[in-house]
C-alpha cells in the first residue's frame, strides 16, 4: 500500500514536471466555455469570479483521492472524466485509489501537522459521512465553493438529503457527486423467492447455515447492513434520529447485538470470521460461497452482470421496510495547491452530461444527484431513457423504500460496539 502510494507520488511528480515543461501552446487555442456561476452566491475564497477559476485551472493537475475498489468506477474517472477535463479545461486528472476514506483524511491531517498548509498532495476527495465530519471539524476542507459552481443550479439545495451529509450541513464545503441506495443482491437461479423483510432474511439465514455473511464494519457496506438490522431491532430508525446520545445508545442497541449474535452461528464460517471488505464479499458471492451480496449502489449488480462477473440471473431487492439512502460528494482539502482545477473537476462532475454518463450501467450506474425538475426537457428525457440493467430496481420502487442515514457519530459508535459485542467472542 505504502509502496504504491510512493510510486504514485513519484508518477505525480513526474507528471507535474512534464506538464510544467510543456510549451503553453494550449492557452491560445482553447476557448473558455461560456459558463457562469449561480447567481447571488459569493465567489469561493481566493478567486474573483468563475473566469478566474478557469484561468487558474489551466495546466494544473488534480490528485483525486477516491475509493478504488471498483474497476468500473476507476475506469470511468480515469477515462471519461479525465479525458473531458483535459480536453476542455486543460486540467490533468490523476486518480489516486484508496481502500478506505480515513487513508486520505490521515494524509491531509499529517500534512497539517507537518505544516504543509500551501502545498498539500491531495486536491480532491470523494467523501461523505464520517470522513466529511472529521475533515470539517479538523478544518481540513476548503470552502465554501460548491454553491458557486455553475452546474450547481441543477442541484436542489432545499432537499435535506442533499444539503445535509449524514446529519451535518454541507454549507458549500462539498459538491454533490451522486446518490446511492442500499440494495440486497441474490442469484435468482439459486433462490426463487428472496426474503423481502429483515425478519424473513433473518429466518432464511437460520434455515440455510453457512450461506450468508456481511463485510465486517467499519467497511462501508457492511456497516450499512448492520444499520438495517439495528433499525429493525430497535423498532425503527425514528428511535435513533437526532444528535448522538450515549444513554439512548446503551438502552437501544443491545437489541441489535442480540439479533446479530443470534444469526452468527448460521453465518459463513459459523461467524468466526467476516469478510474484510466489500470487495472480498463480492468474491465470496461470485464464487458461490455465499448466496447474498449487498451494495450501497442500486446498479452495481447490473454492472457486474454486464461485466460477466456475476451470473445473468443476478437480481436485487430492497426490504419492504425500506433501505438506507444517502448522497455522496467531492470536497477540496484546505491545503490543495490546485483548488481552481479541483473546482473545475467538481463542476464537471455535476454537469448533466457527466451525471448522465455516470448513470449508464456500463459506465458506473450511479444515481444522478441533479433534480429532474431543474433540468431542461431534453436532459430530463435523456435521464428517463437510461437503461436500467437487468438487476436494477425501478427508480419508483427505490424511492418508495428509502430510509435516512443516522448522524455520523451514531455510525462510529455502532461500528465500534459491533467489534466488541458481535465480532469478539
Amino acid at each position: 500500500m505504502k509502496k504504491r502510494n510512493l510510486i504514485l507520488l513519484w508518477l505525480t511528480a513526474v507528471l507535474i514536471l512534464l506538464a510544467a515543461c510543456q510549451p503553453t501552446e494550449q492557452e491560445d487555442t482553447i476557448n473558455l466555455p461560456a459558463e457562469s456561476p449561480a447567481p447571488g452566491v459569493e465567489p469561493p475564497p481566493g478567486f474573483a469570479d468563475w473566469d478566474a477559476v478557469l484561468q487558474a485551472a489551466q495546466g494544473q493537475t488534480v490528485n483525486f483521492y477516491m475509493w478504488g475498489g471498483s474497476d468500473l468506477i476507476n475506469g470511468w474517472v480515469t477515462g471519461y472524466v479525465a479525458d473531458a477535463v483535459q480536453e476542455r479545461y486543460g486540467v490533468t486528472l490523476n486518480m489516486v485509489p484508496v481502500a478506505d476514506g480515513p487513508e486520505y483524511v490521515n494524509k491531509v491531517l499529517g500534512e497539517q501537522q507537518a505544516g504543509r498548509d500551501e502545498d498539500g498532495s491531495v486536491d480532491l476527495v470523494w467523501v461523505n459521512g464520517e470522513n466529511y465530519r472529521t475533515m470539517r471539524q479538523a478544518e481540513l476542507l476548503y470552502g465554501p465553493f460548491s454553491e458557486y459552481l455553475p452546474n450547481s443550479i441543477y442541484v436542489n439545495w432545499n432537499d435535506p438529503s442533499v444539503a445535509n451529509d449524514f446529519g451535518l450541513s454541507v454549507d458549500g464545503y462539498e459538491a454533490p457527486y451522486g446518490k446511492a441506495q442500499f440494495v440486497m443482491i441474490y442469484d435468482s437461479a439459486k433462490i426463487e423467492n428472496p426474503p423481502t423483510t429483515v425478519d424473513e432474511l433473518l429466518a432464511w439465514i437460520q434455515a440455510n447455515p453457512g450461506l450468508f455473511t456481511y463485510p465486517a464494519p467499519p467497511d462501508f457496506t457492511g456497516s450499512a447492513f448492520v444499520r438495517h438490522i439495528c433499525y429493525h431491532a430497535v423498532g425503527g430508525y425514528e428511535n435513533l434520529l437526532g444528535e448522538f446520545d450515549q444513554a439512548l445508545f446503551d438502552a437501544q442497541l443491545p437489541a441489535c447485538w442480540d439479533v446479530l449474535n443470534q444469526i452468527e452461528p448460521f453465518l459463513w464460517r459459523e461467524g468466526q470470521t467476516y469478510p474484510e471488505s466489500h470487495t472480498r464479499h463480492q468474491e465470496l458471492f461470485a464464487n458461490g460461497e455465499v448466496y447474498f451480496d449487498m451494495a450501497y449502489n442500486p446498479a452495481e449488480a447490473s454492472s457486474l452482470v454486464e461485466n460477466g462477473r456475476y451470473p445473468e440471473t443476478t437480481r436485487t431487492f430492497v426490504f419492504d421496510e425500506g433501505t438506507i439512502a444517502n448522497t455522496h460528494y467531492v470536497a477540496i482539502p484546505y491545503n490543495s495547491p490546485n483548488k481552481a482545477a479541483a473546482m473545475v473537476v467538481a463542476n464537471f462532475l455535476l454537469s448533466p452530461e457527466a451525471q448522465l454518463s455516470k448513470a449508464q450501467p456500463e459506465n458506473w450506474g450511479d444515481l444522478p444527484v441533479l433534480d429532474p425538475a431543474l433540468l431542461g426537457a431534453e436532459d430530463q428525457a435523456a435521464f428517463n431513457a437510461i437503461p436500467r440493467g437487468v438487476a436494477t430496481l425501478s427508480t419508483e420502487e427505490l424511492a418508495a423504500n428509502r430510509l435516512p442515514e443516522l448522524q455520523a457519530p451514531w455510525l462510529t459508535a455502532i461500528e465500534q460496539a459491533w467489534e466488541t459485542a458481535v465480532l469478539q467472542p
Binding site: 487513508e103 483524511v105 491531517l109 501537522q113 459463513w268 468466526q272 470470521t273
Partner: protein, 290 residues
C-alpha cells in the same frame, strides 16, 4: 586522516536515511503513543494508551496469535531450509535447475504470494474446485478452512513458502564457504553420518541459522500485508490491529495505534539485540564483560 574517516563517509548516506526515516518515525510514534498530539490540542504526556491496550483482551489475543505465527513460520521454514541446503550442497543430476527453482520466489512480493495462497486454498479456490471435480466435496464449506482460519495456517503457509528459500540460500552459502574438510577429518576419525552432522556441520551452520531465523521472526512478527489478506477478522495479528487503530475515524485511537507500534518495535529490537549478543559471545547476556 582520510582513511580513518573513510568508512564513515561511505556509510553516511545510508546511516542518514536509517536514522532520519526509521529513527524519526520511531520518535514520532513514541511521541504520539504518549498522547502528544498537538493537532488535536493535546500536549500532555500520559501512558493512558499503553494502559488501555494492555488491558484489552483483544490486544493480548492478538499478541499470542502474532507470537504463534512468527514462531511457527520461523521454525518450519528454518527446518525446511536446513534440509534443502543440505540436499543442494552436493552436485547431482539437475542440480543447477533445482537450485534455480529453489531461488525463484525470492523476488516475488509477499502480497503476490498471499493472493496466490488465497486463490489456491480458499474454500472456493483452485484446490477446492479440483476437490469438487473429483467428487471429494459437494459445496465450498466442505473444504477445510485454510485461509481466514483461527490457526492462521494460510499466513504461516505464505511465510514458509517465501522465507524457506531465503534462509536456505544463506545456509547454502555458509556450507559452501566452510567446505567439507572438517567433515572429512571427522569421518577419518570414525564419526558416523549423524555424528558428523550433529557435531561438525550443525555447529558450523548455527550462527547463520540464528541470524537468518531472527530476521525471519522479526519480519513475520511485524509484517502487515499478508495477515491483512489471509487473516481472520478477529483476533488479528498485531500489525493489522495497529493499522486498524491508525485508520480509525476516531482520531483519539491514534495514541493506541502508536503504542502498539512502539511495543512491536521494542520486542523486535530486544530480540535482535539478544541474538546479536548471543552470536558474538555467550557471556554478554550475563554481565556484558568481554
Amino acid at each position: 586522516m582520510p582513511t580513518r574517516l573513510r568508512p564513515y563517509l561511505l556509510l553516511a548516506p545510508t546511516l542518514a536515511v536509517i536514522l532520519l526515516l526509521f529513527g524519526g518515525g520511531v520518535l514520532l510514534a513514541l511521541m504520539q503513543s504518549v498522547g502528544y498530539l498537538p493537532f488535536l490540542g493535546r500536549t500532555e504526556i500520559t501512558l493512558d494508551a499503553y494502559r488501555a491496550i494492555l488491558q484489552q483482551a483483544a490486544f493480548s489475543q492478538s499478541f499470542f496469535l502474532t507470537l504463534w505465527v512468527a514462531l511457527a513460520s520461523t521454525a518450519v521454514s528454518t527446518l525446511l531450509a536446513l534440509v534443502c541446503a543440505l540436499a543442494l550442497r552436493r552436485p547431482f543430476r539437475g542440480h543447477r535447475l533445482i537450485t534455480f527453482i529453489f531461488q525463484l520466489n525470492i523476488p516475488i512480493p509477499h502480497l503476490v504470494g498471499a493472493v496466490g495462497i488465497l486463490f489456491l486454498f480458499s474454500q472456493s479456490g483452485f484446490l477446492a474446485r479440483l476437490a469438487n471435480l473429483a467428487g471429494l466435496i459437494s459445496q465450498p464449506a466442505d473444504f477445510p478452512a485454510i485461509v481466514f482460519d483461527p490457526w492462521a495456517i494460510g499466513i504461516i503457509l505464505e511465510y514458509v513458502w517465501k522465507t524457506t528459500c531465503f534462509t536456505g540460500l544463506i545456509l547454502l552459502a555458509t556450507l559452501q564457504g566452510v567446505g567439507n574438510d572438517l567433515e572429512t577429518a571427522a569421518q577419518n576419525l570414525g564419526a558416523n553420518r549423524w555424528q558428523r552432522f550433529r557435531y561438525v556441520t550443525l555447529p558450523l551452520l548455527t550462527p547463520s541459522m540464528v541470524s537468518a531465523s531472527v530476521l525471519v521472526f522479526a519480519f513475520t512478527f511485524g509484517a502487515f500485508e499478508v495477515p491483512l489478506v489471509l487473516g481472520q477478522r478477529f483476533p488479528s495479528m498485531l500489525p493489522v490491529l495497529a493499522y486498524r487503530s491508525y485508520v480509525d475515524i476516531d482520531l483519539n485511537a491514534r495514541p493506541e495505534a502508536m503504542a502498539m507500534n512502539v511495543i512491536i518495535t521494542l520486542l523486535i529490537g530486544v530480540l535482535i539485540f539478544l541474538s546479536t549478543c548471543a552470536s558474538r559471545t555467550k557471556r554478554c547476556a550475563v554481565n556484558g564483560e568481554r
